[in-house]
Structure formats: C-alpha cells, structure tokens
Symmetry: C3
Subunit: 172 residues, 3 copies
Amino acid sequence: MKNIFLLFIVHCLLSVSLHAQDAEAKLKELKIELPVLGKPIANYVHVVRSGNLLFLASKGPSNAQGVYITGKVGKDLTLEQGIEAARLTAINQLAVLKAELGDLNKVKHIVKVLGMVNCEADFKDHPKVINGFSDLMVAVFGEKGKHARSAVGMCSLPFNMAVEIELIVEVE
Amino acid sequence: MKNIFLLFIVHCLLSVSLHAQDAEAKLKELKIELPVLGKPIANYVHVVRSGNLLFLASKGPSNAQGVYITGKVGKDLTLEQGIEAARLTAINQLAVLKAELGDLNKVKHIVKVLGMVNCEADFKDHPKVINGFSDLMVAVFGEKGKHARSAVGMCSLPFNMAVEIELIVEVE
Amino acid sequence: MKNIFLLFIVHCLLSVSLHAQDAEAKLKELKIELPVLGKPIANYVHVVRSGNLLFLASKGPSNAQGVYITGKVGKDLTLEQGIEAARLTAINQLAVLKAELGDLNKVKHIVKVLGMVNCEADFKDHPKVINGFSDLMVAVFGEKGKHARSAVGMCSLPFNMAVEIELIVEVE
C-alpha cells in the first residue's frame, strides 16, 4: 500500500515536470494583460476550429489604447519598434486564444506561424522582427510554443500596419 | 405512436432551421454560373484533400471569357474593380469546390482564407478588396461561410493578376 | 492452391503499380544528396507535426556550400537562376522531411505549397520560378508529389534570399 502511494507521488511529480508550464501563470508573471477583442470589421471571424486545429485570422499590432503601430519597418520604424510591434501582435493573438478557449493551458502546440513584415525592397531582417512574436509565444507556452514559421516582407499591409501575423494552433 | 410521429416532425423542422442554407439554391438565386475549370499549367493541382480538409491552390480573377483582370489595385484599377476581382476569384474557387465535391452543400465550413492584393507600397484598403471574396462566400454558405482570414499586399502576382486567393475548407 | 498463389502474384504486381514510386531510390537516381540541417536561428523549429500533417517552416535556397542564393529574380537573377533557387529550396525541404521521418517513403502526399519569390513590382513569372520546386517534388514522389500551391511575389525576403517556400505534408 505504501509503495502504491509512493508510486502515485512520483507519478505526480513526473507529470508536473514533464508537462508544459502553466501558460496563465506565466502571463501573469510577465505582467501581460490581454486586451478585449473588437469585432472583425468584415465578413470574417477571429478564429475557426476544425478538428483539434484552430486557424486564427491574422492580427496586427495595437497598443493598450487600441491604436495600431503603423509604418514600414526599417524606414518609418526602427528594427526595435518592429520587434515590439510583433510582440504586441502576439498579445492580440493570445487574446484570441483566451477568448476561444477560456484557458490558455488548453493550447497543445503553436503549430505554424506566418509572420508578415511591412517593409521596403531592401529590408533583410524579417526573422529578427518576427522573433518579437515567437519569443513571447515560447515565453508563455514553453516547448509547446515552438512553431514552424515563415517570416517575409510585404509590399503593404492594411491601414499601413507594421506587421501582420496569422497562426495555426493545436488544442486538446 | 402519435407522439413519436410528432417528435419526428419536430426533429425534421429543427434540422432544417438549424442546418445551413442550401448553397446550390443560393448560387442559382444569385444568378452565378460557375466556369469550367482549366487544367493547372504546371506540376500542381487545384485541390488536395487531407482528412476532411480541402487545401485549394490559389486562384486569380478571370471573367466569363476566361480573361484575367490584371493591374495593381489603387493604381491601374479602382477599389471597386479590385473588389469585383476578388468576387470573380471567389466564383473560380466555388467552381473548384463544385468540381471536387459535386455538391456545394458538402462544404461544412470555409476555414481559412489568404487574400493577396497586387498593389503598391502605400495601399491600405486590402480588407475592403478581399471583402469581395468573403462577402460572396457568406452569401452562398451563410454562417458556414464565415472564415478566419488574412488580407495583405503583394509586390507582384503571376501575369499581373489583381488578386490571388487561397483557402482551406472543411468538408463532411 | 495454385489459384491462391496466382492471386498472390497478381496482388503483388498490382501493389507495385498502384503504389507510388520509391522516393529514396528516385533521389539516388537523380543523384541528389540531402544537406545536413542547421539549427533554426530563432525560437522556431523546422517542422511541427499535428495528427498526420507536417507543417514545415519555410526555407530558402542554399547551395552545397551552405551559401544562400540571393537577389531579386528578374533583376539580379535570371529566370533560370530563380528556377534553380526553387529547386535548391526543394532539396532543403526534402532534408527536413528526411530528418523528421527517417524515410521519405513515409510521405503520403505533398498537400500544400506556398512559393514566395523575391522580385520587383513588374515581375510576372512566379509560376515558372516555383516550378523549380514543384517539378522536383513530383520527380521524387510521383503522383503523391502533386500539390495545391500558390506562387506569389514578395517585396523582400530574409537576407535577400531569392525564394522562400513553405509546405504542408501528409504522412502515414
């Protein structure tokens, strides 16, 4: 009987260490407050679920006041401002996930990210910009946050937003 | 016995009201005639099915004569012409779905749309352009037509097409 | 007994003809040697599996020395150099599949390809460029290699790479 109890304790400890970090706790630790989602301004929705995959509509970077960060990265915005724009976009997509799932710990894996940077023809640092998004995903979800991604340069984006990022997420 | 019959009737009525609209009937009501698909001009196909997801190759806008609408939206084409190009692209993708499924009512959900607009660096109205596509999908499929989407600006598109749109569709 | 044996022979012959070609043998026949994968330079991974779908991060064209083919197709690079860049990108993605699966014959279908060409606003031959990728996939995988695809023009790509291509692959 004692052995079974010990086995149970070991099992619990292993579960904690093997399972991913608590995304909700991590969000609080990072002092990130998720914004309230506006309604999409056209005949589309924030997210569609098919099986255990969530397909998220792309979002752009809006600050705490809901104002978009606009301009071309490398021209109107510095690289650092571009990275911050990608980070703000990650926060907006976390808000979509939170609204859809209720609990971010229901995320099983961030599967695929398409990171689009508003920039000019000679820009080369797209990966650094989109790291602003990727790094926050990995900070919040740990190993589950590591995704396949593309980082590319767009000739223009809606409302001249600095970045626009869409993603596919696997859920439980 | 009578009760069971009544239950059956209620069930049928509920089914009709709960289920989505008849996409084929809607298409006729909108007086939209689907074009006959040409063969892809390279080593690729119009659509690949994996499980209950259809991945559609992107299409551009061709009119009833099969001629592509070309030019950059906001420069060579007006916003209205861009919207019409997106609508024509939707009709071409409906033709792909019809050829693949036989019956558009087998569509369970339009999941994800990537709408790419051929435009210049200062263009900002990508969402309005891609609404030409999204609005027709929702007109034909109702709630099932509401999708997650991205609308972005491309430096150039094949043959200088005005728009190019790809999508993922869930089927029964 | 003889009949059962004959049936078995017929079954084997049918299996060979109905099943796809041997991708590993084809690769050797084409004298293609797959490169060793470097580690992604950021918080992302080469590939994420969800169910029986592999989502591959986009890759660019690097030659046998690991040096990227850079420049805008149609301006810095000829069309032929662009096609070769797309072919080199296909080889890099085959290396990702080989590393993930151990055996390329575990590929059930190349489902979806997004082929992005680094080019200028007046470029029109994106499909020809991306054929460099598509043709190699079909050469290696046969019918299983035929995919839905989009071929589009990007204002800029990381490190000024000539092309960047991502894909979704169904596996057994």
